[in-house]
Protein backbone atom coordinates (compact mmCIF):
# COMPACT_ATOMS: atom_id res chain seq x y z
CA UNK A 1 0.00 0.00 0.00
CA UNK A 2 1.43 3.36 -1.07
CA UNK A 3 1.29 6.38 1.25
CA UNK A 4 -1.16 9.08 0.15
CA UNK A 5 0.13 12.62 -0.51
CA UNK A 6 -1.03 13.62 3.00
CA UNK A 7 0.77 10.60 4.46
CA UNK A 8 3.93 11.64 2.62
CA UNK A 9 3.73 15.16 4.04
CA UNK A 10 3.28 13.80 7.57
CA UNK A 11 6.14 11.31 7.10
CA UNK A 12 8.38 14.04 5.69
CA UNK A 13 7.76 16.27 8.72
CA UNK A 14 8.49 13.29 10.97
CA UNK A 15 11.83 12.79 9.18
CA UNK A 16 12.68 16.49 9.52
CA UNK A 17 11.88 16.57 13.25
CA UNK A 18 13.80 13.34 13.90
CA UNK A 19 16.74 14.76 11.92
CA UNK A 20 16.59 17.97 13.97
CA UNK A 21 16.56 15.91 17.14
CA UNK A 22 19.67 13.93 16.11
CA UNK A 23 21.57 17.00 14.86
CA UNK A 24 20.59 19.67 17.37
CA UNK A 25 18.04 18.49 19.93
CA UNK A 26 20.39 16.36 22.02
CA UNK A 27 23.47 18.58 22.06
CA UNK A 28 24.93 19.17 25.48
CA UNK A 29 23.97 15.78 26.93
CA UNK A 30 26.49 13.23 28.27
CA UNK A 31 28.10 10.82 25.84
CA UNK A 32 25.91 7.78 26.52
CA UNK A 33 22.55 9.58 26.30
CA UNK A 34 23.74 11.20 23.06
CA UNK A 35 24.58 7.76 21.66
CA UNK A 36 21.29 6.28 22.91
CA UNK A 37 19.12 9.12 21.56
CA UNK A 38 21.06 9.16 18.26
CA UNK A 39 20.34 5.45 17.85
CA UNK A 40 16.66 5.85 18.84
CA UNK A 41 15.85 8.87 16.70
CA UNK A 42 18.19 7.65 13.96
CA UNK A 43 16.34 4.34 13.62
CA UNK A 44 13.04 6.24 13.65
CA UNK A 45 14.34 8.59 10.93
CA UNK A 46 15.60 5.84 8.62
CA UNK A 47 12.51 3.68 9.20
CA UNK A 48 10.12 6.54 8.35
CA UNK A 49 12.26 7.43 5.33
CA UNK A 50 11.96 3.83 4.11
CA UNK A 51 8.17 3.87 4.59
CA UNK A 52 8.18 7.12 2.58
CA UNK A 53 10.21 5.49 -0.22
CA UNK A 54 8.90 1.91 -0.25
CA UNK A 55 5.39 2.27 1.13
CA UNK A 56 3.66 0.59 4.06
CA UNK A 57 4.34 -2.92 2.73
CA UNK A 58 7.77 -2.68 4.30
CA UNK A 59 6.03 -3.08 7.68
CA UNK A 60 5.29 -6.70 6.73
CA UNK A 61 8.99 -7.53 6.98
CA UNK A 62 9.86 -9.79 9.96
CA UNK A 63 12.78 -7.47 10.76
CA UNK A 64 10.32 -4.75 11.81
CA UNK A 65 9.79 -6.36 15.23
CA UNK A 66 13.52 -6.26 15.97
CA UNK A 67 13.99 -2.76 14.57
CA UNK A 68 10.98 -1.41 16.45
CA UNK A 69 12.51 -2.71 19.69
CA UNK A 70 15.58 -0.52 19.25
CA UNK A 71 13.61 2.75 19.43
CA UNK A 72 12.01 2.39 22.90
CA UNK A 73 15.06 0.61 24.33
CA UNK A 74 17.51 3.31 23.31
CA UNK A 75 15.24 6.20 24.32
CA UNK A 76 14.56 4.58 27.68
CA UNK A 77 18.28 3.95 28.22
CA UNK A 78 19.04 7.61 27.51
CA UNK A 79 16.38 8.74 29.98
CA UNK A 80 17.47 6.27 32.66
CA UNK A 81 21.12 7.31 32.27
CA UNK A 82 20.20 10.97 32.68
CA UNK A 83 17.67 10.70 35.49
CA UNK A 84 18.18 7.40 37.34
CA UNK A 85 21.86 7.66 38.22
CA UNK A 86 21.88 4.65 40.57
CA UNK A 87 20.32 2.34 37.95
CA UNK A 88 22.52 3.32 35.00
CA UNK A 89 24.53 0.12 34.66
CA UNK A 90 21.55 -2.08 35.40
CA UNK A 91 19.42 -0.34 32.78
CA UNK A 92 22.18 -0.50 30.20
CA UNK A 93 22.52 -4.23 30.80
CA UNK A 94 18.73 -4.63 30.51
CA UNK A 95 18.72 -2.72 27.19
CA UNK A 96 21.54 -4.73 25.67
CA UNK A 97 20.19 -8.01 27.05
CA UNK A 98 16.62 -7.22 25.97
CA UNK A 99 17.67 -6.37 22.45
CA UNK A 100 19.80 -9.49 22.13
CA UNK A 101 16.99 -11.65 23.56
CA UNK A 102 14.41 -10.24 21.13
CA UNK A 103 16.81 -10.66 18.20
CA UNK A 104 17.70 -14.21 19.22
CA UNK A 105 14.14 -15.41 19.85
CA UNK A 106 13.01 -13.89 16.54
CA UNK A 107 15.94 -15.36 14.58
CA UNK A 108 15.73 -18.96 15.79
CA UNK A 109 12.66 -21.10 16.38
CA UNK A 110 12.36 -20.43 20.12
CA UNK A 111 10.08 -22.73 22.11
CA UNK A 112 6.42 -21.94 22.94
CA UNK A 113 5.52 -18.45 23.98
CA UNK A 114 9.08 -17.42 24.88
CA UNK A 115 9.46 -14.97 21.94
CA UNK A 116 6.24 -13.12 22.84
CA UNK A 117 7.07 -13.10 26.58
CA UNK A 118 10.53 -11.64 25.87
CA UNK A 119 9.01 -9.06 23.52
CA UNK A 120 6.29 -7.99 25.97
CA UNK A 121 8.77 -7.74 28.87
CA UNK A 122 11.31 -5.73 26.89
CA UNK A 123 8.76 -3.38 25.32
CA UNK A 124 6.80 -3.14 28.56
CA UNK A 125 9.73 -2.05 30.75
CA UNK A 126 11.20 0.29 28.14
CA UNK A 127 7.79 1.74 27.26
CA UNK A 128 6.83 2.33 30.89
CA UNK A 129 10.19 4.02 31.53
CA UNK A 130 9.65 6.47 28.67
CA UNK A 131 6.02 7.04 29.65
CA UNK A 132 6.26 7.35 33.44
CA UNK A 133 9.73 8.73 34.20
CA UNK A 134 9.36 12.15 32.49
CA UNK A 135 5.86 12.63 33.96
CA UNK A 136 7.05 11.81 37.51
CA UNK A 137 10.05 14.10 37.13
CA UNK A 138 7.78 16.90 35.94
CA UNK A 139 5.28 16.39 38.78
CA UNK A 140 8.08 16.31 41.37
CA UNK A 141 9.48 19.54 39.95
CA UNK A 142 12.81 17.88 39.15
CA UNK A 143 12.23 18.73 35.48
CA UNK A 144 10.26 21.53 33.80
CA UNK A 145 6.54 20.75 33.27
CA UNK A 146 6.90 20.42 29.51
CA UNK A 147 9.33 17.52 29.98
CA UNK A 148 6.14 15.48 30.50
CA UNK A 149 5.70 15.72 26.72
CA UNK A 150 8.43 13.08 26.42
CA UNK A 151 6.18 10.80 28.49
CA UNK A 152 3.25 11.53 26.19
CA UNK A 153 5.51 10.73 23.24
CA UNK A 154 6.33 7.47 25.00
CA UNK A 155 2.63 6.66 25.38
CA UNK A 156 2.00 7.45 21.71
CA UNK A 157 4.88 5.32 20.49
CA UNK A 158 3.50 2.56 22.72
CA UNK A 159 0.15 2.87 20.92
CA UNK A 160 1.97 2.74 17.58
CA UNK A 161 3.86 -0.36 18.69
CA UNK A 162 0.64 -2.04 19.80
CA UNK A 163 -1.10 -1.28 16.51
CA UNK A 164 1.85 -2.69 14.59
CA UNK A 165 1.91 -5.79 16.81
CA UNK A 166 -1.76 -6.37 16.11
CA UNK A 167 -1.02 -6.08 12.42
CA UNK A 168 1.80 -8.62 12.68
CA UNK A 169 -0.28 -11.14 14.63
CA UNK A 170 -2.99 -10.96 12.00
CA UNK A 171 -5.63 -10.21 14.65
CA UNK A 172 -5.89 -6.43 14.49
CA UNK A 173 -8.44 -4.65 16.70
CA UNK A 174 -8.58 -2.07 13.93
CA UNK A 175 -8.54 -2.86 10.23
CA UNK A 176 -5.19 -2.75 8.41
CA UNK A 177 -6.41 0.26 6.41
CA UNK A 178 -7.33 2.18 9.56
CA UNK A 179 -4.02 1.38 11.25
CA UNK A 180 -2.03 2.49 8.22
CA UNK A 181 -4.21 5.59 7.95
CA UNK A 182 -3.44 6.77 11.48
CA UNK A 183 0.20 5.61 11.57
CA UNK A 184 1.85 8.62 9.78
CA UNK A 185 -0.02 11.11 12.00
CA UNK A 186 0.81 9.08 15.08
CA UNK A 187 4.50 8.93 14.16
CA UNK A 188 4.59 12.69 13.58
CA UNK A 189 2.81 13.44 16.87
CA UNK A 190 5.13 11.07 18.74
CA UNK A 191 8.29 12.58 17.29
CA UNK A 192 7.00 16.13 17.84
CA UNK A 193 6.22 15.34 21.50
CA UNK A 194 9.70 13.92 22.03
CA UNK A 195 11.38 16.89 20.34
CA UNK A 196 9.28 19.46 22.22
CA UNK A 197 9.75 17.62 25.52
CA UNK A 198 13.53 17.60 25.16
CA UNK A 199 13.61 21.20 23.90
CA UNK A 200 11.40 22.83 26.51
CA UNK A 201 11.72 20.28 29.29
Amino acid sequence: MKPSPLDRVLLLFTVIIAAYQVAVGIDGFDTLPIIAYTVGFGVLLVAVLLIFILGFDILDSPVVIIISTIIPLSLATGLAWQHLASYRTLYLLFAIGGFLAVTLTRSISAPGKLPIIILVLTHGIAGMTIFILPIILSIQGKAPPLFALVGIGGALIGVGGLLLSFLKTGRPILSRETILKVLPGLLLLTTACFAAGFKFG
Binding site: A19, I26, T38, G42, L45, V46, L49, I53, I58
Partner: protein
Amino acid sequence: MSVVTAQSSIVNLKSKIRAYWSLTKPLQSGLLLATGLAGYMSARCPVFNIGAILGLAVSLFLAIAGSTVLNMWWDRDIDAKMGRTKKRATSSGVVDENEVLRVGLILSVIGVGWAVAMDALYGLIVFAGLFFDVVVYSIWLKRRTAWSIVWGGVSGAMPILAGRALGLGYIDWVGVTLALGVLFWIPTHTLTFSMKFAKDYEAACVPTFPSTYGLGVTRATIAISSVLAAAAMVVAGYGIGMAWGFLRLLGVLSAGLLILALVMTFRPSERVNFGLFKYASVYMLAAMILVVIEVM
Protein backbone atom coordinates in the same frame (compact mmCIF):
# COMPACT_ATOMS: atom_id res chain seq x y z
CA MET B 1 -0.30 34.61 -40.06
CA SER B 2 -3.73 33.31 -39.06
CA VAL B 3 -4.71 32.81 -35.43
CA VAL B 4 -4.86 29.04 -35.98
CA THR B 5 -1.33 28.93 -37.39
CA ALA B 6 -0.02 31.07 -34.54
CA GLN B 7 -1.67 28.82 -31.97
CA SER B 8 -0.24 25.76 -33.70
CA SER B 9 3.25 27.30 -33.64
CA ILE B 10 2.94 28.00 -29.92
CA VAL B 11 1.81 24.42 -29.26
CA ASN B 12 4.74 23.09 -31.32
CA LEU B 13 7.19 25.31 -29.48
CA LYS B 14 5.78 24.22 -26.12
CA SER B 15 6.06 20.53 -26.99
CA LYS B 16 9.60 21.06 -28.28
CA ILE B 17 10.64 22.84 -25.09
CA ARG B 18 9.06 20.00 -23.09
CA ALA B 19 10.97 17.45 -25.17
CA TYR B 20 14.31 19.23 -24.71
CA TRP B 21 13.64 19.76 -21.02
CA SER B 22 13.16 16.00 -20.61
CA LEU B 23 16.40 15.43 -22.57
CA THR B 24 18.31 17.35 -19.90
CA LYS B 25 17.14 14.76 -17.28
CA PRO B 26 16.10 17.58 -14.94
CA LEU B 27 16.11 15.48 -11.74
CA GLN B 28 19.58 14.06 -12.34
CA SER B 29 20.93 17.41 -13.52
CA GLY B 30 19.29 19.10 -10.53
CA LEU B 31 20.94 16.68 -8.12
CA LEU B 32 24.36 17.22 -9.73
CA LEU B 33 23.77 20.97 -9.62
CA ALA B 34 22.93 20.65 -5.92
CA THR B 35 26.30 18.93 -5.34
CA GLY B 36 28.05 21.79 -7.17
CA LEU B 37 26.29 24.42 -5.06
CA ALA B 38 27.00 22.47 -1.88
CA GLY B 39 30.67 22.15 -2.89
CA TYR B 40 30.85 25.92 -3.36
CA MET B 41 29.15 26.65 -0.05
CA SER B 42 31.35 24.11 1.75
CA ALA B 43 34.25 26.48 1.12
CA ARG B 44 32.55 28.90 3.56
CA CYS B 45 32.92 31.75 1.12
CA PRO B 46 30.31 34.55 1.11
CA VAL B 47 27.30 32.48 0.00
CA PHE B 48 25.06 35.50 -0.43
CA ASN B 49 27.17 36.72 -3.33
CA ILE B 50 24.25 36.53 -5.73
CA GLY B 51 26.41 37.05 -8.82
CA ALA B 52 28.75 34.15 -8.02
CA ILE B 53 25.96 31.79 -6.93
CA LEU B 54 23.87 32.60 -9.98
CA GLY B 55 26.88 32.28 -12.29
CA LEU B 56 27.79 28.94 -10.74
CA ALA B 57 24.23 27.64 -10.95
CA VAL B 58 23.63 28.70 -14.55
CA SER B 59 27.04 27.71 -15.95
CA LEU B 60 27.00 24.34 -14.19
CA PHE B 61 23.41 23.59 -15.17
CA LEU B 62 24.08 24.47 -18.80
CA ALA B 63 27.21 22.31 -18.91
CA ILE B 64 25.47 19.35 -17.22
CA ALA B 65 22.37 19.72 -19.38
CA GLY B 66 24.53 20.08 -22.50
CA SER B 67 26.50 16.92 -21.78
CA THR B 68 23.27 15.04 -21.00
CA VAL B 69 21.70 16.13 -24.29
CA LEU B 70 24.87 15.10 -26.16
CA ASN B 71 24.77 11.71 -24.44
CA MET B 72 21.15 11.27 -25.47
CA TRP B 73 22.06 12.19 -29.03
CA TRP B 74 24.93 9.70 -29.13
CA ASP B 75 22.93 6.90 -27.49
CA ARG B 76 19.75 7.37 -29.53
CA ASP B 77 20.20 4.04 -31.34
CA ILE B 78 20.58 1.96 -28.17
CA ASP B 79 17.88 3.96 -26.38
CA ALA B 80 15.48 2.92 -29.16
CA LYS B 81 16.14 -0.75 -28.30
CA MET B 82 15.36 -0.43 -24.60
CA GLY B 83 11.82 -0.41 -23.24
CA ARG B 84 12.74 2.13 -20.56
CA THR B 85 14.20 4.67 -22.98
CA LYS B 86 12.56 4.04 -26.35
CA LYS B 87 10.09 6.88 -25.79
CA ARG B 88 12.81 9.45 -25.30
CA ALA B 89 12.52 12.37 -27.70
CA THR B 90 15.80 11.40 -29.39
CA SER B 91 15.00 7.73 -29.94
CA SER B 92 11.33 8.19 -30.83
CA GLY B 93 12.05 10.87 -33.43
CA VAL B 94 10.06 13.62 -31.69
CA VAL B 95 12.98 15.99 -32.28
CA ASP B 96 15.38 16.19 -35.19
CA GLU B 97 18.68 14.50 -34.34
CA ASN B 98 20.86 17.20 -35.94
CA GLU B 99 18.98 19.81 -33.98
CA VAL B 100 19.59 17.82 -30.76
CA LEU B 101 23.31 17.75 -31.54
CA ARG B 102 23.33 21.51 -32.13
CA VAL B 103 21.40 22.23 -28.93
CA GLY B 104 23.70 19.93 -26.92
CA LEU B 105 26.80 21.63 -28.32
CA ILE B 106 25.41 25.14 -27.79
CA LEU B 107 24.45 24.40 -24.16
CA SER B 108 27.85 22.81 -23.52
CA VAL B 109 29.86 25.63 -25.10
CA ILE B 110 27.90 28.33 -23.26
CA GLY B 111 28.12 26.42 -19.95
CA VAL B 112 31.87 25.74 -20.16
CA GLY B 113 32.59 29.18 -21.64
CA TRP B 114 30.71 30.88 -18.83
CA ALA B 115 32.56 28.70 -16.29
CA VAL B 116 35.99 29.57 -17.77
CA ALA B 117 35.06 33.25 -17.77
CA MET B 118 34.21 33.02 -14.05
CA ASP B 119 37.40 31.19 -13.05
CA ALA B 120 39.94 29.23 -15.12
CA LEU B 121 40.30 26.34 -12.64
CA TYR B 122 36.54 26.08 -12.18
CA GLY B 123 36.08 26.10 -15.95
CA LEU B 124 38.73 23.44 -16.42
CA ILE B 125 37.01 21.09 -13.94
CA VAL B 126 33.59 21.70 -15.52
CA PHE B 127 35.12 20.95 -18.92
CA ALA B 128 36.76 17.78 -17.53
CA GLY B 129 33.34 16.63 -16.25
CA LEU B 130 31.79 17.18 -19.66
CA PHE B 131 34.70 15.51 -21.47
CA PHE B 132 34.64 12.42 -19.22
CA ASP B 133 30.87 12.14 -19.55
CA VAL B 134 30.46 12.58 -23.29
CA VAL B 135 33.76 11.41 -24.81
CA VAL B 136 35.22 8.89 -22.36
CA TYR B 137 32.01 7.43 -20.87
CA SER B 138 29.43 7.59 -23.67
CA ILE B 139 31.38 7.61 -26.92
CA TRP B 140 34.42 5.52 -25.99
CA LEU B 141 33.59 3.06 -23.22
CA LYS B 142 29.83 2.59 -22.65
CA ARG B 143 29.42 0.02 -25.44
CA ARG B 144 32.75 -1.70 -24.74
CA THR B 145 33.03 -2.37 -21.02
CA ALA B 146 30.95 -2.54 -17.86
CA TRP B 147 33.68 -0.48 -16.17
CA SER B 148 32.56 2.59 -18.13
CA ILE B 149 30.48 3.53 -15.08
CA VAL B 150 33.69 4.44 -13.26
CA TRP B 151 34.26 7.22 -15.78
CA GLY B 152 30.62 8.18 -15.61
CA GLY B 153 31.21 8.41 -11.87
CA VAL B 154 34.32 10.56 -12.29
CA SER B 155 32.26 12.87 -14.45
CA GLY B 156 29.46 13.00 -11.86
CA ALA B 157 32.00 13.87 -9.17
CA MET B 158 33.23 16.93 -11.03
CA PRO B 159 30.41 19.40 -10.15
CA ILE B 160 31.07 19.18 -6.39
CA LEU B 161 34.83 19.50 -6.95
CA ALA B 162 34.25 22.40 -9.33
CA GLY B 163 31.99 24.18 -6.84
CA ARG B 164 34.51 23.86 -4.02
CA ALA B 165 37.41 24.87 -6.27
CA LEU B 166 35.46 27.98 -7.30
CA GLY B 167 34.90 28.85 -3.63
CA LEU B 168 38.51 28.28 -2.58
CA GLY B 169 40.44 29.11 -5.72
CA TYR B 170 42.34 25.81 -5.49
CA ILE B 171 41.75 22.06 -5.09
CA ASP B 172 42.10 20.71 -1.55
CA TRP B 173 41.79 17.26 0.05
CA VAL B 174 38.24 18.01 1.27
CA GLY B 175 37.14 18.75 -2.28
CA VAL B 176 38.74 15.54 -3.51
CA THR B 177 37.07 13.57 -0.67
CA LEU B 178 33.68 15.12 -1.46
CA ALA B 179 34.24 14.15 -5.10
CA LEU B 180 35.16 10.60 -4.00
CA GLY B 181 31.91 10.49 -1.98
CA VAL B 182 29.93 11.25 -5.14
CA LEU B 183 32.14 8.93 -7.24
CA PHE B 184 31.46 5.97 -4.93
CA TRP B 185 27.79 6.92 -4.56
CA ILE B 186 27.20 6.71 -8.31
CA PRO B 187 27.66 2.89 -8.57
CA THR B 188 25.15 2.49 -5.73
CA HIS B 189 22.73 4.36 -7.92
CA THR B 190 23.61 3.11 -11.41
CA LEU B 191 24.29 -0.55 -10.59
CA THR B 192 20.94 -0.99 -8.83
CA PHE B 193 19.43 0.61 -11.91
CA SER B 194 21.29 -1.76 -14.25
CA MET B 195 20.03 -4.74 -12.21
CA LYS B 196 16.46 -3.53 -12.42
CA PHE B 197 16.65 -3.03 -16.19
CA ALA B 198 19.15 -5.83 -16.97
CA LYS B 199 17.08 -7.16 -19.89
CA ASP B 200 16.89 -3.71 -21.48
CA TYR B 201 20.67 -3.33 -21.45
CA GLU B 202 21.08 -6.87 -22.75
CA ALA B 203 18.72 -6.13 -25.64
CA ALA B 204 20.79 -3.09 -26.54
CA CYS B 205 24.08 -5.04 -26.16
CA VAL B 206 25.36 -2.61 -23.54
CA PRO B 207 27.74 -4.42 -21.15
CA THR B 208 26.80 -3.96 -17.51
CA PHE B 209 28.06 -5.39 -14.24
CA PRO B 210 25.07 -7.79 -13.91
CA SER B 211 25.56 -9.13 -17.45
CA THR B 212 29.36 -9.33 -17.23
CA TYR B 213 29.99 -10.44 -13.64
CA GLY B 214 26.62 -11.66 -12.41
CA LEU B 215 24.22 -10.39 -9.75
CA GLY B 216 26.31 -11.53 -6.76
CA VAL B 217 29.38 -9.52 -7.76
CA THR B 218 27.19 -6.56 -8.65
CA ARG B 219 25.52 -6.60 -5.23
CA ALA B 220 28.89 -6.90 -3.49
CA THR B 221 30.20 -3.98 -5.56
CA ILE B 222 27.19 -1.90 -4.55
CA ALA B 223 27.73 -2.75 -0.87
CA ILE B 224 31.45 -1.86 -1.04
CA SER B 225 30.84 1.36 -2.94
CA SER B 226 28.12 2.32 -0.42
CA VAL B 227 30.58 1.83 2.46
CA LEU B 228 33.20 3.91 0.65
CA ALA B 229 30.68 6.63 -0.29
CA ALA B 230 29.39 6.92 3.28
CA ALA B 231 32.93 6.94 4.70
CA ALA B 232 34.05 9.60 2.24
CA MET B 233 31.05 11.83 2.99
CA VAL B 234 31.61 11.58 6.76
CA VAL B 235 35.37 12.29 6.40
CA ALA B 236 34.60 15.22 4.10
CA GLY B 237 32.01 16.49 6.60
CA TYR B 238 34.69 16.38 9.29
CA GLY B 239 37.11 18.16 6.96
CA ILE B 240 34.59 20.92 6.27
CA GLY B 241 34.35 21.40 10.01
CA MET B 242 30.77 20.21 10.40
CA ALA B 243 29.38 20.46 13.91
CA TRP B 244 29.17 17.13 15.77
CA GLY B 245 25.39 17.17 15.57
CA PHE B 246 25.45 17.35 11.78
CA LEU B 247 28.13 14.65 11.65
CA ARG B 248 25.88 12.49 13.84
CA LEU B 249 23.01 13.00 11.42
CA LEU B 250 25.26 12.24 8.45
CA GLY B 251 26.37 9.10 10.29
CA VAL B 252 22.74 8.04 10.81
CA LEU B 253 21.89 8.54 7.13
CA SER B 254 25.10 6.72 6.13
CA ALA B 255 24.17 3.82 8.42
CA GLY B 256 20.82 3.55 6.62
CA LEU B 257 22.66 3.35 3.29
CA LEU B 258 25.03 0.67 4.60
CA ILE B 259 22.25 -1.43 6.11
CA LEU B 260 20.25 -1.35 2.88
CA ALA B 261 23.36 -2.32 0.89
CA LEU B 262 24.02 -5.22 3.26
CA VAL B 263 20.40 -6.39 3.12
CA MET B 264 20.56 -6.28 -0.66
CA THR B 265 23.77 -8.35 -0.62
CA PHE B 266 22.55 -11.06 1.72
CA ARG B 267 18.75 -11.01 1.29
CA PRO B 268 18.25 -9.57 -2.18
CA SER B 269 14.81 -8.72 -3.52
CA GLU B 270 13.30 -6.41 -6.08
CA ARG B 271 11.89 -4.19 -3.33
CA VAL B 272 15.21 -3.79 -1.50
CA ASN B 273 16.91 -3.15 -4.84
CA PHE B 274 14.47 -0.34 -5.61
CA GLY B 275 14.66 0.94 -2.03
CA LEU B 276 18.44 1.27 -2.20
CA PHE B 277 18.21 3.01 -5.56
CA LYS B 278 15.81 5.61 -4.13
CA TYR B 279 17.51 5.89 -0.75
CA ALA B 280 20.87 6.54 -2.43
CA SER B 281 19.38 9.61 -4.15
CA VAL B 282 17.76 10.85 -0.96
CA TYR B 283 21.05 10.23 0.89
CA MET B 284 23.08 12.35 -1.50
CA LEU B 285 20.51 15.16 -1.52
CA ALA B 286 20.34 15.10 2.29
CA ALA B 287 24.14 15.14 2.56
CA MET B 288 24.28 18.18 0.30
CA ILE B 289 21.53 19.95 2.27
CA LEU B 290 23.48 19.26 5.47
CA VAL B 291 26.62 20.81 3.99
CA VAL B 292 24.63 23.90 2.96
CA ILE B 293 22.76 24.28 6.27
CA GLU B 294 25.98 23.79 8.21
CA VAL B 295 27.76 26.71 6.59
CA MET B 296 24.83 29.15 6.47
